[in-house]
């Protein structure tokens, strides 16, 4: 187990730059999730750490050791692949011990290592089967077993759950989290699924277009996204964005949304200092669906600051726990999260409450958080 540091890492394929100056650093035992849409460079970054590709520039360190020019087999890492990449001609036992065998570990030690890992992952009855005789979830376990048996410094996971069906994916997610808690190992995990990222990570690195957008704890990324991309990518349903103007009304800043007929004015009671500079300017107002609910009052929750406004309801989408209510404000579809017993019928008008303590404001040009 060890810490991992990426220092100004760049990667270019010919003239195409796929990773631009990535700086990341995690401590021993952390669970780092690299998340982003396809083509954002997250898998390339993982391959750089694994040594399957070489970086164009920058330094990669495991612990204090610079590993840029170290062969993958000498980096003391283990990797779990999206397709599992089990050797089809070998039994599960052989698959798990192949790496040990290549490294010249004795027969007795190998047997013990397999037994331990098989017990941990509950795959003992499968040891003498071939990969073709296993189900998707079982293959996934074997692939993890192959990584675990080596007791590496860092585990690398490349979208390991994306080939499983929805239910199994959730189960395996929990299992990976449990495994991490039990072993305390350092893990780098690549996914395009923001829910996986939120649930698993101790820290998330959100990437887009080869650029690291934000690197922080899941809660911070959720509550204080650096820019509009991160705000929109993390969270489901995604954050609502509305064009607005920040107005200074007798010392109180308020978000003013131009709406035909009745403009909405949402006062900010505890505005951070950084908002002052944008007084009188255009901003993008971001609010998550759960901060936009049926009518509530501030007494419902001590920390919240509810502001009410009316809107006509376009569509409702019940999910059971909550009813997603789509309203239209200034030509944009906005999703509010309403308790089912308070759910309106489409077409009728209803009073909504916005929790102004949970909003984000962005600069409309740079799309950065204000």
């Amino acid at each position: 187990m060890a810490s991992l540091t990426l220092d100004k890492v760049r990667k270019a394929f010919g003239p195409v730059e796929v990773l631009k100056e990535i700086n990341l650093s995690i401590d021993d035992g952390e669970f780092l999730v690299l998340v982003g849409p396809s083509g954002c460079g997250k898998s390339t970054l993982l391959n750089l750490i694994a040594g399957l590709e070489t970086s164009t520039d920058g330094e990669i360190r495991i612990g204090d050791r610079v590993i840029n020019d170290v062969h993958p087999k000498d980096r003391n890492i283990a990797m779990v692949f999206q397709s599992y990449a089990l050797y089809p001609n070998m039994t599960v036992r052989k698959n798990i011990t192949f790496g040990l065998e290549i490294r010249g570990v004795s027969n007795a030690e190998r047997d013990k290592a397999v037994a331990d890992v098989a017990k941990l992952l509950q795959i003992e009855p499968l040891l003498d089967r071939k990969p073709a005789q296993l189900s998707g979830g079982q293959r996934q376990r074997v692939a993890m077993g192959r990584a675990l048996v080596r007791d590496p410094d860092i585990f690398l996971f490349d979208e390991p759950l994306s080939n499983l069906d929805a239910k199994l994916r959730v189960d395996m997610r929990t299992e990976i989290k449990k495994l991490h808690q039990r072993l305390g190992s350092t893990i780098v995990y690549v996914t395009h699924d923001q829910i996986e990222a939120m649930t698993l990570a101790s820290r998330i690195a959100v990437m887009k277009g080869g650029i690291l957008q934000q690197f922080d704890t899941p809660q911070n990324i959720y509550e204080r996204p650096n820019n509009m991309f991160v705000a929109g990518f993390i969270g489901s349903p995604s954050m609502n964005f509305m064009d607005a103007t920040l107005r200074d009304e007798n010392g109180t800043l308020s978000v003013h949304i131009d709406r035909e007929g009745s403009p909405i004015s949402l006062p900010l009671f505890e505005a951070p200092e950084s908002y002052r500079a944008y007084a009188g300017k255009k901003v993008v107002f971001g609010i998550r669906p759960e901060a936009l609910t049926h009518k509530r009052s501030s007494s419902d929750s001590a920390d919240s600051q509810y502001v009410n406004f009316d809107s006509k309801v376009e569509v409702i989408e019940p999910t059971g726990a909550d009813t997603m209510t789509v309203i239209e404000i200034a030509g944009k579809e906005i999703v509010a999260r309403v308790r089912p017993d308070r759910a309106p019928t489409p077409g009728e008008s209803m009073t909504f409450s916005a929790d102004m303590s949970q909003i984000s404001l962005f600069d409309p040009d740079s799309e950065l958080r204000i």
Partner: protein, 295 residues
């Protein structure tokens, strides 16, 4: 009801007629293709007298294997009357190493071209592919020069070399296309496990290559065994392969034309490839289509 019945009866008759026509055509084609073989076999089992007296298509009255025995042990190839057997072994000594070496090299090439992609891999592959379209005749002269310089002219090893070089393009193509469908992650996983180029090849890639190895072996064996031009050009006299010897037996113009011996010799020459197809034919078809199914 009645209408429907007559209608279905009509359709039934139509079906029977069409089916009958189909079988008729198929049987005709089968006869067309089988007839020469039947004539060859029946002629090879007749005595020379019977051939002279009877017609070409009549079946043998007395079955005799004399002609087969004669062709194998005594037939005259040129001035040597030692039978076709030494040439049969010449062909075996040529075909077996040439098939194995070209298949093995094709496997390594295909593996390197797909799983250890180096700069210019595509160009190398394109050039190799180009080699598949070079006609035999074009390489005859340069090849004979090369063989002369290597001191391999008119020898079985020389012929092996020629067939390996010529067959490499095809075997590489087979293996390359097969390995393209094997996920790269397999090699990556093995790399992280600590295995090198050849360890991965021997331990992981080769064991899952059986279908394409069968294809390559059948293809190469048929090509090399049946080859006449290279054999006639690069291995003369006592080192000639069976196809060349057969030609020399059949085309001898002195003495009585021994049709039964000619036929027996031709059948003996064709037998090994026939055997390979019978034994491994189903793997051949399976292997040819294996690339299209994701592994």
């Amino acid at each position: 009801m009645a209408d429907i019945q007559t209608y279905s009866q009509d359709a039934g008759w139509k079906n029977v007629v069409l089916r009958g026509l189909l079988y008729l055509v198929l049987i005709l084609f089968a006869i067309y293709y089988l007839f020469p073989l039947i004539v060859m076999i029946s002629t090879s089992l007749k005595s020379l007298d019977e051939i002279r007296e009877g017609s070409l298509i009549s079946l043998p009255r007395v079955i005799t294997f004399d002609a087969w025995n004669y062709a194998w042990n005594e037939a005259c190839v040129g001035v040597e009357c030692t039978g076709i057997k030494i040439y049969f072994w010449n062909s075996v000594k040529m075909a077996v190493p040439a098939v194995l070496i070209s298949t093995f090299l094709g496997a390594i090439n295909g593996y390197a071209l797909t799983k250890f992609r180096f700069k210019g891999a595509n160009i190398v592959f394109a050039l190799l592919l180009f080699g598949c379209f070079i006609p035999f005749q074009v390489v005859l002269l340069p090849m004979s020069q090369v063989l002369g310089k290597l001191g391999l002219a008119s020898s079985t090893p020389g012929l092996v070399l020629v067939h390996v070089v010529y067959g490499l393009c095809f075997t590489t193509l087979f293996f390359r296309n097969y390995y393209v469908s094997i996920p790269d992650e397999l090699v990556k996983a093995a790399t992280i496990d600590g295995a090198g180029f050849f360890t991965i090849f021997w331990r992981i890639i080769l064991p899952i290559s059986t279908p394409i190895i069968v294809v390559s072996v059948i293809w190469q064996f048929t090509q090399i065994w049946n080859d006449f031009l290279f054999g006639a050009s690069f291995a003369s006299g006592a080192n000639a392969p069976m196809t060349v010897a057969l030609n020399n037996i059949v085309n001898t113009t002195t003495g009585v034309k021994q049709y039964n011996v000619d036929m027996a010799a031709a059948l003996l020459t064709g037998l090994p490839t026939l055997l390979v197809y019978v034994l491994a034919g189903k793997y051949f078809v399976r292997g040819l289509t294996a690339g299209s199914v994701k592994g």
